[in-house]
Subunit: 674 residues, 2 copies
């Protein structure tokens, strides 16, 4: 049973949809934690307590030892001391003598001090006290997560083709650029299922437009790509360009669908298109209106999108930049001192994403007019909801790929996320690994990081090692920023090593897709920390750099430069496979315990759990060419095992059809029968 | 034999002082590498080649896989993709089928592309081709380093008290603040030998002044501290305040000792004191003049200094900030677009340390007038040389503590370095570990990082783990920046855990000091990579997070949050000691190979090599109270071993006295006889 405590007048975020396990507990004492209304929620942590959850955040799977803030922020330079990333995921669990979970359904800024100020204290503070607090106990982390996942509803399901490899770069300026990417992958025998179109495809960064000069006759171009089984996936930005004659702008103004300032005038701030409007996604009508615009691209044959800049990111507001320029102008001809330097630096660098600006515009919500700051963390969620609800209306039979940068719990029903703008850093590869299970706990299953890193310059070995982990993430996309080193695989020397890794992704797809779908439909984790799989194993909870992928597979990626292997902890005897550079697999059985395992740069190791099987298809260069019906299996030991295999057409939504499920009987030597 | 090749007209940096092993090789082909004069120096790397050296830089002990630049930079936000830190250390070694070393004695910008652009190519490029290239081969990395250390001369020797624990913070505003620091350490029974005085002690940041209001009667205050065996260590900044009536400024102007612009007027740029002058440290007269000013503090009883801001760091030049303000003023009232935003951000954030500014001022050197950019990397070196040469004149009998932020090879003879302004990041703890042996290769032995991190906010566990490594660094200083969380030990909860670690530092001092002095006098490493100790061990070269400290001791610090131990590789059987929180040591013998070793937060493990001993004193709270003459020893095995023990008075310079050396005979049970 989940206990719900209401404080003040919570905003109806609609994060929670299944209420069958929830019990309102008004006036009763909140269990486990010490709530001082208006002040804080605290919990005295025991030395061995672990803290899980918080979705998209820096640091470990165990969140203990830092202070985090739910305050959706565009921060491409995030470090280990960053408190807020692009999302707000207010779910956490305590694993110790007491085992319980909390969800703070609250769209304002929340701060989680998890042993930062005092190493033994968890302290949660909020901007104001209008929230729904859900709290429940359980026997295990798995049970606690399952209860949460049930209450927040089924996670978004991506089309099967979106489990293929995607190539992206901010900087593909023309259809020719895209054609070259496809061609180069083809020439080099590199699998590919999608090319992402960043802001360059639009006409001066206007949503729901296509630059006709650079992408002439887009519909035909999309058809040309589809003929090669390549999906074009355009970006949609949160800001709508302010431009007379641009229908989206004019219509939004006319209908009053953009966020307004206190005086009723439209709020204008600069993002990629320059001066832009921000759709009031908390107004159901505005949401519907914005969502309907996706038809512009759907009608041209597009089957997937990514929603960006929806924290929302703001480069500057008109008011602020004017003030900044005025202030700096006053310094002209003056004898300057350092105070003025700091002031100038503060003014200029404080223009972007300024919290004060978030207070100056408003939403017309179901519960009345609200300042943006009160509901800041819902903006990206509701932009993606706008899209998801529109897809249901516009093409109800078909799955559309959708993932977002910003998110809040609830959004997981409408799309996945990529893990934000990151860097070509080994430390961000490691963060990618650690973030995956935390996101899964919060319902976000379709996810992956920008492989190779978005900002900064990738080295060949970094991209190769990152892809070796990316092989296991549902979203597998290589993405980089304009101005950085080009990082398509074919830009590097040892293309064969990359090819081998990519091809193996396609061989794994039957397993990966089956496990993803099972995790969605059964409300379970796709990526599990070892501690969740082996709760009795005292060491497992310390393992932060190995994950289970589904039920059979444990991964232990190499994330250190020049390493030729790594340490791996096996909670039980497992069969280790090593993918060699010639595509062959060699294996050996390793005992439970600690091992140093070799993995040369072009090699990848993974581990099969006893009593389980890993089903594989033949390699292919497109998801559509993978034969999900003819499988091989990797097994461990002589005894036959069963594998619960989920498979569907991957495009429609007949998830409940019993025909999608089969129990494969797999003999010790890998023979499969149903 | 070291071969020397001259290109163009190299600037006489005086990095190289011992020429007995050097052979000029004019006109001969350069061995090992491919030199295209005016273009590049390249080396085709084999897959197994390792690259060592480069002193103060990010990333691994093995530098392969990134592009580094020698271009002294004030960069407190450095990441793994940072190319230049505070120093320029152009020494590198290749370890593979061919083993050789190179030193590029060149004070301009050098770029080392070590497998970044092409994973198999090392490519060095220079701003111009006036350099001395030294290149030599050797049987081992140890031999290559020794030859280099010999040619660049004996490393700086710090006074013994400077091996005690030091507490520092930018923000100790008054003598009272300093007294409180000392008092709090005393109350909590925490060892302490020095308190560092950051820029706050000066009168409006003017070098060689003391703020009389905040530090009244400094001489008496220093005496008061000395009576408690506390050394005050003031900072000296590179920039000299431009202020009428300030004697240092007026004298420097009068004598023409400051750097000038092309038109002969003095170059002025803003740093902490506001508008400031930059002493022409490449002019021997100016160097002498600046150095003599240290007498102002020496005469007041000060025995140590740190030289800061000497890359040189520049906040802005008068010309540039005026231009920036003019440019921004032009935007007033205009309809702005993003181009103008980027321009504004670029202008404002490009004011500090702008390379164009480094071209606008000049040095009067022994070889004539030179633009600063040509000799940029020598500035910090020669500031510290100014101090070191002055100390030789002013107090030739006495060791004065001196360490610098910026450095170039050659400076190691005059002072140590701290490892620059860092952050309270676990990744910077790891970087600290990896940087130590690379600095030692370049002659810099007196070094340590800002323990706990300078910028950002430290957590208790980070500081404790960092101190557990800091126990082994010659400079052991806790330093933090104003505005960050206070990080003196007594700010945290478990003071006992810190006390235990600190006390152990003082127990280790006989060994640490002996090994430091041996490394200096024998031109060897104090911190060694495992690969250098076990060149036949193929795995040792992959170990980046364990180090030898001297001949007997291997350390394997824990640098991950929430970890309760770590993996350790033993190249041979060793005796592991675990310092428990009660101060006791427990030990066990571990076989050669891979181990997972437990080390709870408050515990520290270290490893003793077979056939070697670790000498320990009784704990004390001041270096002066450590009894270096009555030692205990930790040993491994029943057989007696010898330990070569160096000990001197720690304050004078009678290094060559044979009485400083003894051979301790140590029985298997730790009994010591000489």
């Amino acid at each position: 049973m989940i206990f719900k405590f209401q404080f003040g007048k919570p905003f109806p975020t609609e994060a929670v949809v299944a209420k069958d396990q929830i019990q309102d507990a008004p006036g009763q004492p909140v269990p486990f934690v010490d709530v001082k209304e208006g002040e804080s929620i605290t919990y005295q942590m025991q030395p061995d307590d672990l803290v899980y959850g918080l979705g998209q955040n820096v640091r470990g799977i165990n969140k203990r030892g830092w202070i985090y803030s739910s305050n959706c922020s565009d921060n491409p330079n995030h470090q280990e001391d960053t408190r807020s990333l692009y999302a707000a995921h207010n779910f956490l669990m305590i694993d110790g003598a007491k085992k319980f979970a909390m969800f703070l359904d609250y769209p304002g800024i929340v701060t989680f001090d998890i042993g930062y100020t005092r190493s033994d204290e968890l302290k949660i503070t909020l901007s104001d006290w209008n929230l729904d607090l859900y709290i429940w106990e359980g026997e295990s982390m798995t049970e606690l997560v399952k209860a949460f996942r049930h209450m927040i509803g089924r996670s978004y399901i991506a089309p099967k083709w979106a489990f293929g490899y995607g190539q992206s770069r901010w900087g593909y300026q023309t259809a020719e650029d895209v054609r070259r990417v496809v061609q180069k992958h083809k020439e080099n025998d590199l699998p590919l299922d999608s090319v992402y179109m960043d802001i360059d495809y639009m006409e001066r960064y206007k949503d729901f437009t296509i630059n006709e000069e650079r992408f002439p006759n887009f519909e035909a171009f999309n058809e040309e790509m589809k003929a090669q089984q390549i999906h074009l996936v355009p970006i949609i930005d949160a800001g709508v360009k302010k431009e007379e004659g641009y229908p989206v702008y004019e219509e939004g103004v006319e209908k009053g669908y953009f966020c307004k300032k206190e005086d009723g005038s439209n709020f204008v701030a600069a993002v990629w298109p320059g001066h832009s409007m921000f759709t009031d996604f908390l107004n159901p009508e505005a949401r519907k209106w914005f969502g309907d615009h996706y038809a512009f691209l759907l009608d041209k044959g597009v089957e997937g999108f990514w929603n960006d800049m929806n924290e929302p990111s703001i480069f500057y507001t008109e008011d602020r930049i004017r003030d900044v320029i005025d202030e700096i102008s006053k310094l002209k001809g003056k004898n300057l001192d350092l105070t003025e330097l700091w002031k100038m630096l503060g003014l200029v660098n404080g223009m972007a994403n300024n919290v004060e600006d978030y207070k100056t515009f408003f939403h017309e919500t179901e519960v009345g007019r609200l300042s943006h700051e009160k509901v800041h963390n819902l903006f990206g969620y509701n932009m993606t909801r706008a899209a998801g609800e529109a897809f249901e209306r516009l093409c109800p039979e078909k799955r559309i790929l959708m993932f977002s940068r910003s998110s809040y719990i609830g959004m997981h029903r409408y799309g996945g996320i990529w893990q934000g703008d990151n860097k070509s850093w080994w430390s961000h590869l490691l963060m990618n690994i650690k973030m995956c299970p935390s996101l899964n706990m919060c319902g976000i299953l379709y996810t992956g990081a920008d492989l190779g890193g978005f900002g900064s310059n990738a080295t060949e070995d970094l991209l190769l090692r990152w892809l070796q982990f990316g092989v296991f993430t549902p979203l597998m996309r290589n993405h980089s920023a304009i101005g950085t080193r080009e990082q398509e695989i074919y830009q590097f020397q040892d293309i064969g090593a990359f090819r081998n890794i990519l091809k193996f992704r396609y061989r794994l797809l039957p397993y990966l897709y089956s496990e993803y779908m099972k995790a969605v439909l059964k409300e379970e984790l796709y990526f599990s920390p070892l501690a969740f799989m082996y709760p009795e194993d005292a060491f497992a909870s310390q393992v932060e750099d190995q994950l289970f992928v589904g039920e059979s597979l444990m991964v232990a990626p190499v994330y250190e430069q020049n390493a030729r292997g790594r340490y791996v902890y096996l909670p039980e005897e497992m069969r280790m496979f090593r993918l060699k550079r010639d595509g062959s697999l060699e294996s050996e059985v390793l005992d439970a315990g600690h091992h140093y395992v070799k993995a040369e740069l072009e090699e990848m190791v993974f581990f099969l759990r006893k009593g389980h099987a890993l089903v594989l298809a033949e390699a292919a260069n497109r998801v559509a060419d993978v034969d999900f019906g003819h499988l091989q299996a990797l097994t461990f030991g002589d005894e036959a095992v069963e594998y619960e295999y989920y498979h569907d057409d991957g495009y429609t939504k007949d998830y409940e059809n019993p025909k999608n499920w089969s129990r494969l009987e797999i003999s010790g030597d890998g023979e499969i029968s149903c």
